[in-house]
Structures are given as structure tokens and as C-alpha cells.
Amino acid sequence: MKFSTPMPGRRAVLTSFAAATVVALVGCSTQTGQSAAKGEIGGKITVWTWNAPGSGLKAAIPAFQKLHPGVEVDVQDVGNPAIWEKITTGMAAGGSGLADILNIGIDYMGNYSEKFPKQLVDLRDLGADKLATQFPAGAWKSGQGPKGQVFGVPYEVNAAGFFFRQDLFKEAGIDYSGLKTWDELLAAGTTLKEKTGASLFSMDKAGTVGDSAGLFELLMGLQGAFYFNAAGDITLNGPEAVQSLEIIKKANDLGLVEDVPGSWENLLVTLRGERKVATTSSGGWLAGVIEEEAPDMAGKWSVSLPPAVKTGGLTGAVNGGTYLSIPSSSKNQATAYAFIDFALGTLEGQKLVYDGGGMFPGFKPMLDSDGFVAPNAFFGGEKVNQIFIDELNQDTPAVNYTSDYARALKAYVDVQTRVVLKGADPKTELDEAAKQVAQQTGRKLATN
């Protein structure tokens, strides 16, 4: 009954066949930017980034379009951390569906460049080697591949921002500027707790939301160490690591660490002063966030160089950064690079990006430019940017994230949870974790 004549039947079969094929293929087909003729600047490019860095890049578009009329730049706020999974799946799929410009975190750079070396364009081919001397050597190096390829141009170069609540320290009668080492800071923290009830630090002790290793990485950085050394060997159980975790354990045992799940909302609660936590350490970018999100806290937050772990030690550390990279799958690489070159490689572009998003730049002419280190009224007249520049000018070693940073980070967070929640011994636990990372990655333990 259904098919009285053969023809409609066949047609129906063909139609459903075609429909199925379309359904099957739509999932795979992708379209990145409209391609311009090779080497020519034109057409449309897309950029994957997230909120604040996105605002920065958007601010540079009008001026870029004046130089290159008719070029369209679509800056997409993909969200962080969603962007990492999106880039990972795109790269695992041979570059399918990726944007023309990717904003990549320094902690992911090693992973992408080691695991997918063919998926990122060596920007030297597009002229990036001209920019090398314009950026701090360490930041430039972390964006390079093992053979000197340039996989990313530094967008943000972050020094550790050590923010503290002036009002709370004053209330407790403590002269903050007199605190030079972490021992002194912890001692002051005890007084602070007694006098004001405020905790010195906040931390996601269970590590179930954020990675909660910020404090540890800062302490490691202040000793010139990281999870891996320059050779890529594991230093997760080195003396610096043990020392860092001992400091955290001591602070925790003294009751100075408030347990706060590591979400953005929770950070904002702290920044707005709705939770009594006296210090927050993060990248220098947090300065802009505090100004914007906690306007009522003007004059209450301030920022300083982090205290040294040992008297006379480093009082500066690098706290991550991001890069702009071009995937090999981009059909409009010339235009993509032209945009990166304008936004990050010229003073005009850098100023627009900085005003738009407030990300701390690495471009030296920008750091030296007029007004960049002007006193900041919000932070009590402190020259905020000068502090970060001073940190970056110290002899901080280039941080070697390697392709196994994520594994080391997870192993560490598990250790920290055992130490702060169950009172486990730092040295024993770090030894165990270092062995585990070695088993998983085939890396050697560094000989101390």
C-alpha cells in the first residue's frame, strides 16, 4: 500500500540515503576563516580566546581594519577552561574546526607543541623572529619548540601578584612592609588571626574545583624551581618542593588557611572583602580584576613583591602567561599573523589591547612607554606595574612546563590534599608522587 508505484519508493530511499549522508558529514565538515589568496591579507579570520583577553583583542580590531580595509576579525569568547578541550579535540582531529588564531596558555603550550608539533605554524615562516628581541627571553623561550620553532607570540607575561589587605594588617597593628620572609609573614598571620579573625590565605584544600596549587607554584618560583628542571627531569620531590609544602603545612596547622572551593565566584567574594582573607596571590592580571570587580575596596587592597622564602632570596616569580598561535589548518595564515603582529608587535596595538583587556604585556617598548608605570590610585598610589616589572627583571629561570605539566599538577594537588586534610608528611608524599609521575611519563627523577 505504501508504495503503489516504484518511483516514489526509490525516491524516498534516495532521499533518506542523502539525508543520512548529510547528517553524517555535517558533523565533520567545518569552515574556518574565509581564505584569501596565499600570502595576501584579506578575508575573514576567527580568534579563540576567553573573556578579558578577548576584550583586549577586540579593542585592536578597528585600528587593524584601518590598515587593512575589508578584513574581518571575529574574536570568540570560547571560555576558559573549555577552550583547552576544544583545541585538544581539534588538534587530535588533525586540525579540523580550529580557529585561525588560538590563545594558548603557557601551561598548555608545551603539551600542544610536543604532542601535535605539526598542528601549529612555525611563526618564523611568517616573520616572527623579528619580534624575538622585543620580549623577555624567558617568555619567548616557553613559546618555542625544541628545534627553535616559534609556536606563539607572548600575549600576557605574568609576574606573580601578591595582593594584601592593607586595612586588615593595619587593624591588627602589623607593619606589612616590614615582612620580608615567609616565616615573618606566617608569624604576622597568627597575630592577624587573633586580632581580626582574618585568615592569611585561602585555598581549595580538597582541590576539587580549581587546581589549588597556586601558592605552591609561587613558593617554588621564589626558589627558582618548578615541577621539572630545564632538562625535563622531575623535581616534584626536590628540596625546594619539600620546603614549599612544609610552609603550606605550617600555615595550615596554625589555622591560617581558609578552605574555599576554587571557583571564580568564590574569588570575587574574597576580592570584594566579603570574606576575611588577608592575602591573595595570583598572576599580575588580578590587579585589573580587583579594580573592576571590587570598586568599593579602593585603598584597602594593595600589592607588593612576594616575601622571600629565605632571607635575600628571590622576591619575584613568573606566574604563567599566554600566547597567540596559528594552527596549520588555518586557511588564512597571512592575515592571522598580520593581526598578531599588529596587536602584539606594535606599540599602537599593544596600547589598544592593554587598555581593552588589562592583560600584562611582555612587549618591551610597551613596558618602557610613558605612563605605563604610573601610580595607581586604587591601590593606594602604588606603582603596581613597576612591581611586576621589578619581579620580571629578577633572575627568575624560564619555567619548563613540558608536555607532562598536567600530570605533575594533579599528582601534586593530591599530595597537598593528603597533607592539609590528613596531616600527611610532605617529604614522604612528594617522593611517592614523583615516583608516580615518573611511572606515568617515563621521565627521570632529577638527581639533587
Partner: protein
């Protein structure tokens, strides 16, 4: 008689028509049925078979300096020596052994209540308990995170009324497991209750009447009539829940991220971490295949057990 004849006439009249119809289908090429199946076959090959084969191949490879290299069984031997994999298996096992029985017993109780004539606005209750299953992963995560928040959560707020100190629901290894079990039970009990309810409709009323006449109490009627009648549904739900729990990913992903200290790391979470956090796709695929084998073996054992009993 008359009506009978009449009603049978159309059937007999149609009989000679039927073969003619079949004959007319001879005009179609032999390939026709396969063309009809084509959309399904294409989708199956594209989205099921290809990933299966591709993942198996991946599980035999590793990434060395950006090049995919054949590694033989290396990923599998590494898996056998990996303490975190065993930790994940043990966590999954504990959650399975605790959560599935609790959930299924609750579901039977709910199904009996849904079926009871004493219950007013029955369809409302049935819907209300079924709704969690359609709730999206993210909304579900936000809801339970808010409920289980140690300092500002609603659950701890309620607990404070009976004089208990706040429980670190998501921050303590033991309580995190408990939270996962509670969230899963909330999510899936209604669905199982509906399956039981459907099965209950097939238990004949005469059985209950006979039991009643024989003087069986309500409890005896439940034990000797309802439960045996539910048997097929119980077999189904036990196997489905076991498979579902072994693949557990959603709840730890949205609530605890596998922590604290791997207390809620499940095999699914570990697979995800290796693939998408550590970019170790070969190893992640090996975990996937190991899980497939484990699920296959356990399901076979369960089917065998249930068969022997009946």
C-alpha cells in the same frame, strides 16, 4: 453466526490479494531492503563501528614527539601496573556495591507506592520522581554543588537544625563518595521505579485475589506475588545499573572532579583525564577497552546467575 461469517469475509476476500502484492514487489531490485537500511548502517558505521575500531587501534599506539607510533600491548601492560587505575576500579566497585542496591530497593518501594490506590494525584508523583532523569548535566552539577556546599549549602543548613556540625560534603574523601551516591540515587531512582511500575501492570489481579482469599497479609502478598512478578524488571535494572555505574562519569565530573585525593576517581574519570587532560589518547583508549572487557564479563556473570535461579 451471521456476524462471524461477515467479519471473516473481508479476511478471506483479501487472501488472494496478498500474493499478488508480493509478486508486485518483484519489480524492485534485490538491493531495496539494504537501501532502506542504509541510513542506519551508515550512521552505525560512522558513529559506532568506526570509533570502536579507531579506539582499538589507538590503544595500541603511543605519541612520541608528536608522531603516533605502534606500541603493541605497552599501554595495557602499563595499565596493569598503574595504581591509580586500581584505585579508580575500587572506587567504582564501592559505589556500585553501595549505590545500586539502595537505589533499586528504593525504586521498588516507590513503584509500590505509585501503584497504590491509596495515593492521591498519582500521576503527579510519578512525574515528579521521573523528572531528575531529564535534567541536564550542568544544571544538575550546579544544583548539587550548591546543596552540598560546606559553608553555605542547604543540606548543612538543614543539618544545623538538628544540632550537627557542618559536613564537608565535597571536601572529605568519605563524604565525597557519599555525595556521589546521593546524587546518583536522586538522578536514577525515578527511572527504575517507572520500569518496575510498568512491570507491575502485568502481574495479574487474580493472583492478589487468590492470595487474599488464602489469607495472605499485605507483606506476604508483596513478598510472594509482587516481587516474583517483578523478576524480569529486576534483572533488567540490575544489569543496566551495573553497566551505568561502571561507566560512571557525570557525577564525579560535575561534583568532585574525581577528588579529593582521588576518592571519587572512577574509571570513566580516569579515562577522561588521560585523554583530555594529559593528551595520552593511546592510554585512554586502553582504559576504555579494559572497561569494556570488565563490563562484558560482569554482565555475563549476572545473566548466568539470574538464569540459573529461574
Amino acid at each position: 453466526m451471521n456476524t462471524l461469517v461477515q467479519s471473516s469475509t473481508p479476511a478471506t476476500a483479501e487472501k488472494p490479494v496478498a500474493p499478488r502484492r508480493r509478486r508486485s514487489s518483484v519489480g524492485y531490485p534485490r538491493i531495496t531492503p539494504y537501501l532502506f537500511l542504509m541510513p542506519m548502517i551508515l550512521l552505525f558505521v560512522g558513529f559506532k563501528l568506526y570509533p570502536y575500531i579507531s579506539a582499538f587501534w589507538l590503544s595500541l599506539t603511543k605519541n612520541v614527539g608528536g608522531e603516533v607510533e605502534f606500541a603493541g600491548l605497552e599501554n595495557y601492560t602499563r595499565l596493569i601496573a598503574d595504581p591509580l587505575f586500581y584505585k579508580a576500579l575500587a572506587n567504582t566497585g564501592i559505589i556500585l556495591l553501595v549505590q545500586v542496591p539502595i537505589m533499586l530497593v528504593l525504586a521498588i518501594v516507590l513503584a509500590v507506592a505509585f501503584n497504590s490506590v491509596l495515593l492521591k494525584i498519582r500521576s503527579f508523583w510519578r512525574t515528579a520522581y521521573f523528572v531528575p532523569i531529564v535534567m541536564g548535566l550542568v544544571a544538575y552539577g550546579i544544583l548539587f554543588r550548591a546543596l552540598f556546599n560546606t559553608n553555605e549549602g542547604f543540606v548543612n543548613y538543614l543539618i544545623s537544625f538538628i544540632g550537627l556540625s557542618p559536613i564537608p560534603w565535597l571536601g572529605d574523601p568519605l563524604w565525597a563518595k557519599v555525595s556521589i551516591v546521593i546524587a546518583m540515587t536522586w538522578h536514577y531512582t525515578g527511572q527504575n521505579a517507572i520500569i518496575y511500575l510498568a512491570q507491575m501492570q502485568s502481574i495479574g489481579g487474580e493472583l492478589y485475589e487468590a492470595a487474599h482469599v488464602d489469607g495472605a497479609s499485605a507483606w506476604q502478598r508483596f513478598w510472594h506475588v509482587t516481587l516474583p512478578g517483578l523478576r524480569p524488571a529486576i534483572v533488567l535494572t540490575v544489569i543496566l545499573s551495573t553497566i551505568g555505574t561502571l561507566q560512571l562519569f557525570d557525577e564525579p565530573y560535575v561534583l568532585t572532579n574525581g577528588g579529593p585525593d582521588n576518592a571519587t576517581l572512577t574509571v570513566g574519570m580516569y579515562l577522561y583525564q588521560n585523554g583530555f587532560k594529559f593528551f595520552d589518547f593511546g592510554y585512554a583508549s586502553a582504559i576504555g577497552y579494559a572497561l569494556t572487557i570488565i563490563i562484558g564479563v560482569i554482565s555475563l556473570i549476572q545473566l548466568r546467575l539470574f538464569k540459573e535461579k529461574s
